[in-house]
């Protein structure tokens, strides 16, 4: 039993997780926030100076002595724009740097995680969604880190600093303003909590709409041919409107938090100003510092909440980042990682493998990634051996577990029970990289990367020489193609310029260049036309000579030459032997051969 599925520790964590990640660029954020405070300080001084001058002139009406009394102030005014410009640029550079750093880290971590997950994760998810998460999703975090987050901290700190300043001017104004301070983060929190499920359904809907559109688009020809296109269009249209409705709901929720924020900020500012002014009358207005303080109160009480209002401006974009983060964290949290076993064996020149594979009482079942219900077992207490240099064929109906065995030998999945041994070593104790170095796998459809033939082969080893590559291509039956087009032939997106047979041969060339101890051919010709099939099997038989080989095919003619044939049924081996032995046995194998012969003759 595997208990590693679905232990959703906290689940995709949203904003708090994003905060935690910010610590990776803590220094930059801290410096940026300090500079933001410094910038605010300059604004305060600027306003104070202007208020002071206005008061002085009102009380003295002495315009002529203005420049001599306020020399420092005028010099300061002269430099203010310049200082402000440099501070703005510097702050924005710092936060951008921090956000870039985090985004680079995330993208790296995301792909690393995909490399380490059980292969089932990627085979069962939409690659388009993952690409979207790792590119656009992470880009959407830019505003979150570069603008929203620094602003958030700043708007927490700044009112406290302003509060202290206001205390020195007018206590009652300061007290009224500071009342609003806890109200604002509280309103953000409330919206966060209340909107959690809404955000999740929004985000689900978002990727849903994209996926459904893509699905209908890719199958559009089919839909037109069967006349289902109109029905599907209407369904899709409903999806679009559903998405619109949920978007409006999310938006209303977010806007409401801004509404509370704005009302508190402006309302309290209004009250504070009125309270401040009403403490004076036309007689005591002429006392020193009264007029200047009142001007400061008017201009700064709105500044008091300015950081928060700015935060509101980034809210929309910041929220997009939080939303996008769900998809990212979902991948980072995806659980079916291969287990890390302690006591890994160290291999070197003195200790090398020989390719004797043994399955001992191996049981395996696929885990449903979405819920914890156990699927039916694929392999049940399986025992068999592949000896060094032997070619072994696996046959059986679809679903009998043939390909699963290949995936277990390469350790794309971990088994539930039993042990798989490589020369007597438990494969989970063999370092993964070392294990996979020993195996070449050719499946039913070889994936061709965008690029040249050479690029596609060099994924095995970047240092391969042209000569080595050409030799491998010869063996794989690609001589003609290389002769005609050359190794630098651009194969197009997804190898679109190659035929199915050529793609498979490229896969075989890749397998050869890997120089493994074991070859696995898993339905290597099942998507290929008859003409190419024969030639590819010629190549395979040539390569397999003297090498440990595991061949999986549902077409029995192809495997008759194998030294050992294992017949699988319902996750167990029911017959074992070479072609003649199995024919004599008069069991499943013979029946299969006979059935297929009828078709072959047809």
């Amino acid at each position: 039993m595997k208990n590693k599925i679905n232990n959703k520790k906290g689940g995709p964590g949203g904003i708090l997780r994003l905060f935690k990640l910010a610590s990776k660029a803590q220094r930059y954020f801290v410096s940026a926030i300090i500079l933001m405070i410094a910038k605010m300080g300059i604004t305060i001084v600027f306003i104070t100076f202007i208020a002071g001058i206005l008061e002085y002139l009102f009380l003295t009406s002495d315009f002529s002595s203005l420049f001599s009394v306020f020399t420092y102030e005028f010099v300061f005014f002269l430099f203010t724009p310049l200082i402000q410009i440099s501070l703005t640029v510097f702050i924005r550079k710092l936060t951008f740097f921090a956000s870039s750093h985090i985004r680079t880290h995330l993208r790296y971590a995301l792909f690393k995680q995909l490399l380490e997950l059980e292969i089932g994760y990627i085979e069962n998810s939409s690659t388009a969604t993952i690409v979207n998460n790792s590119i656009e999703g992470i880009e959407a975090l830019e505003i979150f880190y570069a603008d929203f987050l620094p602003q958030l901290f700043y708007s927490m700190l700044m009112p406290l600093i302003l509060f202290v300043y206001f205390l020195s001017i007018n206590v009652s104004v300061a007290v009224i303003l500071v009342l609003g301070f806890p109200l604002i983060p509280a309103s953000i929190m409330i919206v966060q909590i209340r909107g959690k499920s809404l955000m999740k359904s929004y985000w689900d809907n978002y990727s849903d709409v994209g996926a459904k559109f893509l699905d209908n688009l890719q199958g559009l020809n089919t839909l037109k041919e069967t006349g289902m296109d109109e029905i599907r269009e209407n369904e899709l249209s409903q999806e679009f409107w559903k998405f619109r409705n949920i978007t409006m709901k999310v938006l209303q929720m977010q806007l409401k938090s801004i509404l509370y924020m704005d009302s508190i900020a402006y309302g309290l500012a209004g009250i504070a100003i009125v309270v401040g002014i009403s403490q004076f009358n036309s007689i005591n207005i002429a006392e020193p510092h009264v007029i200047s303080n009142l001007i400061i109160i008017i201009l700064l009480s709105v500044e008091f909440f300015l950081p928060l209002r700015k935060l509101g401006g980034f809210f929309h974009a910041g929220m997009n980042g939080i939303t996008a983060s769900h998809g990212i964290f979902e991948i980072l949290d995806a659980n079916p990682n291969l287990k890390q076993y302690p006591n890994q064996i160290h291999f070197d020149r003195t200790l090398q493998l020989n390719a004797n594979i043994q399955f001992k009482n191996v049981s395996f079942s696929f885990k449903n990634l979405n819920n914890s219900t156990e699927n039916k077992p694929i392999l049940r207490k399986m025992n068999f051996q592949i000896k060094h240099g032997e070619s072994v064929a696996l046959i059986g109906d679809s679903g009998s577990g043939k390909s699963t065995i290949a995936n277990l030998i390469t350790r794309f999945y971990d088994i539930d029970e039993g042990i798989i041994e490589f020369d007597g070593y438990d494969i989970s104790k063999i370092p993964l990289n070392y294990l996979r170095k020993q195996i070449s796998y050719v499946g039913a459809s070889t994936y061709i990367f965008t690029g040249t033939i050479k690029d596609n082969l060099k994924i095995v080893n970047l240092d391969l020489s042209d000569e080595e590559i050409e030799n491998a291509c010869d063996l794989a039956g690609l001589r003609m193609l290389i002769k005609l087009k050359g190794l630098d032939y651009d194969v197009g997106e997804w190898g679109s310029k190659l035929s199915g047979g050529e793609k498979q041969r490229l896969g075989i060339a890749r397998a050869i260049l890997h120089r493994p101890l074991i070859y696995i051919f898993d339905e290597a010709t099942s998507n290929i036309d008859v003409e190419s099939e024969k030639k590819i099997w010629e190549s395979i038989n040539m390569i397999a000579k003297g090498k440990t080989t595991l061949i999986i095919s549902h077409r029995l003619v192809n495997i008759q030459k194998a030294q050992k044939i294992l017949v699988l049924k319902d996750g167990q081996i029911v017959e074992k032997g070479n072609h003649e032995e199995l024919i004599n046995l008069d069991g499943y194998y013979k029946k299969g051969i006979q059935e297929q012969e009828i078709f072959e003759k047809y």
Binding site: F46, F58, T80, P81, Q84, V89, R92, S100, T104, R107, Y108, K112, L114, I119, T127, V131, S134, I135, G210, A211, L214, D215, N216, L217, Q218, G219, L220, N221, K224, T226, M228, I231, L251, I258, D262, S263, Y266, G267, G270, I271, I273, I285, I295, I298, L299, V302, N368, G399, F412, R436, A444, I459, V460, W494, R510, T525, V530, R555, F599, Y602
Partner: protein, 585 residues
Amino acid sequence: MDISKHDVVLDENILQTNSEIHINTKLKILKRLFQMVAPIKKTMFKCVMFGILGHLSSIFILSLSAMMVASLMGYKTFNFIYLGLAVIIFGFLRGILHFKEQYNGHDVAFRLLALIRNKIFHKLRNLAPAKMATKKSGDFVQMIQSDVESIETFFAHTIAPVIIGVVVPIIVVIIVGSYWIFFAVILIIAQLMIGFVLPFFSYNYGKNVGRTYRANLSKINIHTLDSLQGLKDIILYNHGDVILDQINQNSRSIIQNKGKIRKNQNTTMSFAESSLIISTLVIFFIGLYHASNSPNFSIPQLIIVVVTSYSSFGPVFSLIPLGGHLNNTIAAANRIFSLLDEVPSVKDPSKEDLVNIPIKNPGKIELNSINFRYHEGQKELLSNISLNIQTGSKIALIGPSGCGKSTLLRLIMRYWDVDSGKIKMDKVNIRNYSLQNLRSNIAIFSQDTYMFNTTIKENIRIGKYNASDDEIILVAKQANIHNFILSLPNGYDSKVGELGGKISSGEKQRIGMARTLIQKREVILLDEPTSNLDFLNEKVLLKTIYDIFSKKTVLIVSHRPSTIRDSDQVWMLKNKHVMVSTDVY
């Protein structure tokens, strides 16, 4: 997920939008976007009104407070209670007004977005498949997601702010100008600088950097997709570290692009901030000068003027980023509009030409000296071809690849119209039937079966939307796939997406065959039905075809001798002409 096989894309020219767009086109695009708002202009009007009132109230909070101070200082006597009350009321109103503005603006935007998304799919549906070649469907997904989303910026964050950014400053300038005309002049210059000049420069500079960024982003998208789809090989051949390196390189290069965009923003931001400071200082100083000279103007008024103008920059500040956004919006809208303007290659007949009767004998098909070429100027693909197909006959069409075999099948379905000559079904030109009527008599089955991301059952039901479960099971049995389906974890209710690589192409083909069978059409067109199948699967499929379609009219295109062996007639298409032969083999 295997994207490569089923990707769909339009002719290249439709997606050619990374280049510079001419200014006239840009204006046309903007006009068209405005026209889209027309039906819901009431909501837009509300948005603008609330926006103006909201901004004015935040300015009035301060101006009225300044008036209170001025009045204490002996400048006019205002009613203190009213003024104070007004300040507080404006304070609370501001939040509500802002909410109303934003809500209405987004209401307009998201309604239009749903509408545009709808239009895009509707258009693609009409264009398919004639105007589509096989390639990147990712571009269309990007279109309905990010392109449509960038238009949101226009509807929700451009139209109203621009109007507000004009109206509010005008009101403030009038107020400030009533004290002295020079205050108005300075304020106008500053507001124009921030609200118009800076966005304009950032727009011009942002054009190029934005384009490079997006081009780079889509390059990286492709690289990531490639790496994910080939993940198994990458893991097996220990290529992961190289890919991780490349991913870091990718990140660095988009950060470099983004850095340039950011730099542009930095410059405009800092210029805007200093414009605010400088204009405040200038108004302050000329105010001091005015106060020292004029008997009617003194310090209390100056306080009102300084406070009012200082607090009036909100609306124009929100215009600063628009320059950059507008680039995105126009490029995105251009892509969308070029798609929407595309004309489908075939149309339903006009009322006079329409033959609106059920087709009694659809199996009887005649081709009367037809000619066809894909594009004007290209050489002819089919030339003067005349053929007769009798009801119930099995005809094989062979010939070298690219000779036009598949095209011929699709001309019968009227994906394109022939250039000259006629195709008749049951003695009537197929152009006179409605497309729906014509196509409802024909089923086509080709080498790739597309599996929709739903259950197996629904995938078969694609052939007939109201088919019962029994019907589905029946055709699945006929197509020899019933037992396989039962072996799946959830039988007929297994979801295709969750099966991953568990379905082979042979099994997919058989599900496709079930889908073809359930349509119960009279004319069956088979386009290379076996080319992705290995020997064994080919045989299974052929047996199904000849057993079940024994009474139907079948036209089968193939390059494999084995596939066409049992047909009544073999036609050989070569050099634009057809040779009819009953015994090619």
